[in-house]
């Protein structure tokens, strides 16, 4: 929901970043306020995942210009874990497998780290189990996934669902979902979207990277941005996504 009076969570200005000497982001601008839902669309290779990972602090990418602040704090002065503790969450386009670390152990470790950061009590395994049993309902996940190694042997869709479970447990202020809808079957998409909706409030915000209108039917965006060549070249309302669905990207690229 757009409320111009609400607090600015993320402010990105003219952000430039490169990987291996190649500039990928060529001046990105984006402002996200509490309560807002943003969608970022754009052709393959336009820089959407790069942008997401740069915000989360991925070490492969070097920021070469511009600024980004989170709740007024310079984002690039923070380590990835400090950004997470400040309330930024990235759901990965390609979630990694971590053999030997159980899903529940990781969730508890991450949760307790954030609790400590927020000056709250850590939960012991029993208490945490109560919490997690609630949270898995958000994504309608079978409890048997909790005892398994993180993402190991999970199907593509199960991995995506697992990312949203992590989001549900960590309750971030800003969630960046990189193609969380890709790989989900029709029912799973509905369940995950419902889960994400249930986590949204006027205090937090979500940025969804997606290729498909289908997700936006469930999680209705306040803003739709189109990224091309490492820049946001067009911003509109939810109707922009419908237009892209009907016309593709060529007309925009020609105009740019």
């Amino acid at each position: 929901m757009i409320n111009k009076a609400s607090k600015v969570l993320l402010e990105v200005k003219n952000l430039k970043a490169e990987v291996g000497g190649v500039e990928i982001l060529k001046g990105v601008d984006l402002t996200v306020r509490a309560g807002e839902v943003h969608a970022i669309m754009g052709i393959n290779g336009s820089g959407k995942s790069t942008f997401s990972k740069v915000l989360a602090g991925h070490p492969d990418y070097t920021v070469t210009g511009g600024q980004a602040s989170f709740e007024g704090q310079d984002l690039f002065s923070l380590e990835p874990e400090q950004r997470a503790r400040a309330g930024i969450f990235l759901a990965f386009q390609y979630p990694v497998e971590i053999p030997g670390v159980s899903n529940s152990a990781l969730l508890r470790l991450a949760y307790n780290t954030l609790q400590t950061e927020r000056g709250l009590e850590e939960l012991d395994p029993l208490e945490f189990d109560d919490l997690i049993q609630e949270k898995i309902k958000v994504v309608e996940m079978d409890p048997s996934f909790l005892g398994r190694s993180v993402n190991e042997g999970f199907s593509g869709g199960e991995k995506k669902r697992n990312e949203i479970l992590q989001m549900a447990v960590l309750a971030p202020k800003l969630a960046i979902l990189d193609e969380t809808d890709s790989g989900l079957d029709i029912d799973a998409l509905r369940i995950v979207a419902k889960g994400v909706n249930s986590l949204l409030s006027s205090d937090n915000a979500v940025v969804m990277v997606t290729h498909y209108q289908r997700l936006l039917n469930y999680i209705v965006p306040d803003y739709v941005h189109v990224m091309d060549g490492g820049r946001i070249v067009r911003t509109g309302g939810k109707e922009l996504a419908l237009e892209l669905e009907a016309r593709g990207y060529d007309w925009l690229r020609a105009a740019a």
Partner: protein, 439 residues
């Protein structure tokens, strides 16, 4: 205080050990001791020029002068409580001497004899098996052990034993750097089954105040036909100690021998495990883990001889080396003529945690037979950067994320131990060795 090395040469160190206290024992064992000493006199400690020792620098051990233990320390249960495995049948040795008051044999009922060797010398079973497997004529350490060992454990399995059997070898804190001899013998009769934990620890588990020590451990294991043994070996010595172990295993027809060998402690350690498949259709499963940091050196040498048809062996060995530590793995699989239908898989996986650490791994296959299936491979890697970033993006510090991933790498081996209380204790040990999961 005797922690400073005495700067002995390899020969001097060996000769000093040859001057150890003579242990008197009756009849047949006396003959073996005398024979072992005679062989010892013709041998010497290996140098790095010795092919089997080329990666393992023992000079730190040689620099020390080790005195034989002349008086045995008395410990209380409190001194060793942290090492006890609840519910286990337990033999305890302090500096190589049997400690009856610390042992717990009340559960050693039908199906198993668990005693000190010295108490059982009259047993024909002991006489017919002791010393027949350990190479005391070829190996200087085994020869010294066979002559100088004071006492050891005797485990004779004649039925299905559900409770784990813990052979706990404790080094006491001493003023003088001491040589400790540990000895074990396990015999598993047909259609019998047991779990044996060979455990090397230090009193209290913290750093020594006075001298350091050198554990020389020798174990012989025999599985007759249709027998099963889970053999777990935990080396969690003091971080300044030295540890050289040798284990020989003979596996009979249709028997299943499963070994898990862990090396966590000691400044310098070596464990040699030699398994001979004597009977047709026997299975051998070997899992190993060496976790070293600081300036530790840990060497694991294994050899599996498939000397009978249709044998099966699987092996997974992992080394984790941090700081300036050095881990060595050499795993030889030999398929002898006549060992038709052998099926063998060996894998060596290694994790380097620092640029100054070093891991040498040598999987070796020698096949003198057609009609066999043998696979082996080795990898050396670092902490996965993608996994590390993922964990940090969930709020974990770099250190915590690295420790979690290292622990997970090690956990694959630990988790195979069929004694939950030990798995839990070892899991904690690993975290402690890595500096914990602190934020």
């Amino acid at each position: 205080m005797n922690l400073t090395p005495k700067n002995l040469t390899r020969e001097q160190c060996f000769e000093q050990l040859l001057l150890g206290k003579t242990v008197k024992s009756a009849g047949w064992l006396e003959n073996i001791r005398v024979e072992a000493l005679a062989h010892a006199r013709t041998l010497n400690f290996p140098s790095v020029r010795h092919d089997d020792w080329r990666f393992t620098d023992l000079s730190q051990l040689y620099l020390h002068g080790f005195q034989p233990v002349d008086s045995f320390a008395r410990l209380t249960l409190d001194d060793i409580r942290q090492w006890l495995i609840p519910g286990a049948i337990r033999l305890v040795f302090v500096d190589g001497c049997y400690a009856a008051e610390l042992s717990d044999l009340k559960h050693a009922g039908a199906g198993v004899v668990v005693t000190s060797l010295a108490e059982r010398l009259g047993d024909r079973q002991v006489e017919s098996s002791f010393g027949r497997y350990a190479p005391y004529k070829q190996d200087a350490f085994v020869a010294l052990n066979t002559n100088f060992f004071e006492d050891g454990s005797w485990v004779h399995v004649t039925g299905e034993v559900a409770r784990p059997i813990q052979l706990l070898h404790v080094a006491s804190k001493r003023e003088v750097s001491s040589a400790i001899y540990s000895r074990n013998m396990v015999v598993v009769e047909p259609f019998s089954r047991a779990t044996v934990i060979e455990d090397y620890v230090v009193e209290g588990g913290v750093g020594l105040e006075g001298g350091t020590y050198f554990t020389n451990a020798v174990t012989e294991v025999v599985l007759k036909n249709d027998a099963q043994l889970q053999h777990i070996r935990v080396q969690r010595e003091d971080k300044n100690a030295f540890h050289i172990g040798h284990c020989t295993v003979e596996v009979g027809k249709n028997s299943v021998y499963s070994a898990t060998s862990l090396a966590f402690g000691a400044r310098v350690s070596r464990h040699a495990l030699h398994i001979v498949q004597q009977g047709e259709g026997a299975e051998m499963h070997l899992n190993g883990l060496a976790l070293v940091a600081g300036r530790q050196i840990a060497d694991t040498h294994t050899q599996v001889d498939h000397a009978a048809p249709r044998g099966k062996s699987t092996q997974l060995h992992k080394c984790i080396a941090d700081a300036s530590a050095h881990a060595i793995f050499s795993g030889k699989i030999i398929v002898h003529t006549g060992a038709a239908g052998t099926d063998s898989v060996q894998s060596s996986r290694n994790l380097l945690l620092s640029g100054k650490a070093r891991i040498d791994t040598q999987p070796q296959l020698e096949i003198f037979n057609d009609d066999v299936s043998c696979k082996h491979g080795a990898t050396i890697g670092q902490i996965d950067a993608g996994a590390l970033f993922f964990l940090k993006s969930r709020g974990l510090t770099e250190e915590r994320a690295r420790n979690l991933l290292t622990h997970a790498f090690a956990a694959e081996i630990i988790a195979k131990i069929p004694v939950p209380a030990l798995v839990e204790a070892l899991s904690k040990t690993i975290l402690e060795r890595m500096g914990g999961l602190g934020t």
